[in-house]
């Protein structure tokens, strides 16, 4: 069974987020706890592995640059007015970044901007129904 004494501390330790006293206490614990010492060695090795992977240049499939340039052929020159669809796409991406997502049951997520959109649509429907009802009442009263 693994020691739970420094649960969470080891991550903060390798991230350099512990204070002087916390580091001293942790190092003292590591001196006699083989579980935590092993976990620290594994975490350090993992970080080294991931950093090495980050420095690894992966290659796209052959002809990638050509496909990019083909895709650019239909593009207007940089800085010229952009098509409406492109502006809408970029605005929606920006909204997604700014507003985030709401978690749903089953691990799914829904963009907050969609929820806002649905809420606005629902309000518009209710308001339209209310106005229609009012018009009908007014028509009947005449």
């Amino acid at each position: 069974m693994e020691c739970t004494h420094c649960h969470g501390q080891l991550n903060r330790y390798i991230d350099g987020e512990l204070g002087y006293v916390e580091v001293a206490e942790l190092q003292q614990h590591l001196g006699f706890c083989p579980d935590c010492a092993r976990e620290l060695r594994e975490l350090s090795a993992l970080r080294g592995t991931l950093a090495a992977w980050g420095g690894t240049a992966l290659a796209p499939s052959p002809g990638f640059a050509e496909r990019v340039m083909t895709g650019l052929a239909a593009e207007p020159a940089p800085g010229s007015p952009r098509p409406l669809g492109q502006v809408v796409d970029e605005t929606l991406d920006t909204l997604d970044r700014a507003l985030g997502h709401l978690p749903l049951p089953g691990g799914r997520k829904v963009p907050v901007k969609n929820v806002i959109g649905w809420a606005l649509a629902a309000i518009a429907l209710v308001e339209a129904g209310r106005r229609r009802g009012r018009r009908e009442r007014e028509a009947r009263s005449w």
């Binding site: 992977w53 992966l58 991406d93 970044r97």
Partner: protein, 190 residues
């Protein structure tokens, strides 16, 4: 906001100011030089965040398309490679939110610059599979933190999550990866 800081030895040298000016003016030959020089860096970022080759190529194409459109707005406040690296991060995360497929553990991209030294007993196959098995909520912040070395605050800004949540996700991602890679040999016994 803190700046992204891709490792120097991974990023190619910046294009000359004259080449950048020509590309920003819409000269395709000048932009082709940028694509050829940075395609590996951009694709690597997209692959590590998305975990699927098809998605990574789609996102990488989108990165260069956005680069072409926004190049006139590049103000030289950072190096071009840092600017493009950040564009690759934000575009890949946008792609992930929009239309990402699940990672496909069977596919392994070509390594452009030789076999990496990933640690004793760990090969690229093992690591790619372990990353692909992580849920997105763990994978994305863990990749940003430990693969690309971004500060926690910048990860929080990029992903739109609270700082504390990001830290918890990274800690859980590391724990999950550590368990998965134990069988692959990352034991830190040296």
């Amino acid at each position: 906001m803190a700046s992204s800081n891709p490792k120097e030895w991974r990023t190619p040298p910046d294009p000359s100011p004259a080449d950048l000016a020509r590309a920003a003016a819409g000269e395709h030959d000048a932009f082709r030089l940028i694509v050829e020089r940075y395609q590996s860096m951009v694709y690597s970022v997209a692959y590590n965040l998305l975990g699927a080759h098809v998605d990574a190529e789609d996102a990488a194409q989108e990165v260069f398309l956005r680069c072409y459109r926004t190049l006139p707005q590049y103000r030289r406040e950072s190096s071009f490679s840092t600017w493009l690296f950040r564009l690759a991060l934000t575009t890949s995360l946008d792609y992930q939110r929009r239309e990402r497929r699940r990672p496909e553990p069977a596919e392994l991209p070509d390594v452009a610059d030789g076999a990496p030294g990933l640690g004793e007993g760990v090969d690229a196959r093992t690591l790619v599979d372990a990353l692909a098995e992580l849920p997105d909520d763990y994978r994305t912040p863990t990749v940003l933190r430990d693969v690309y070395g971004l500060p926690y605050q910048e990860i929080a800004d990029l992903t739109g999550r609270p700082l504390g949540t990001v830290k918890v996700m990274v800690h859980r991602g590391r724990a999950a990866l550590r368990l998965r890679l134990r069988a692959g040999g990352v034991r830190g016994d040296a």
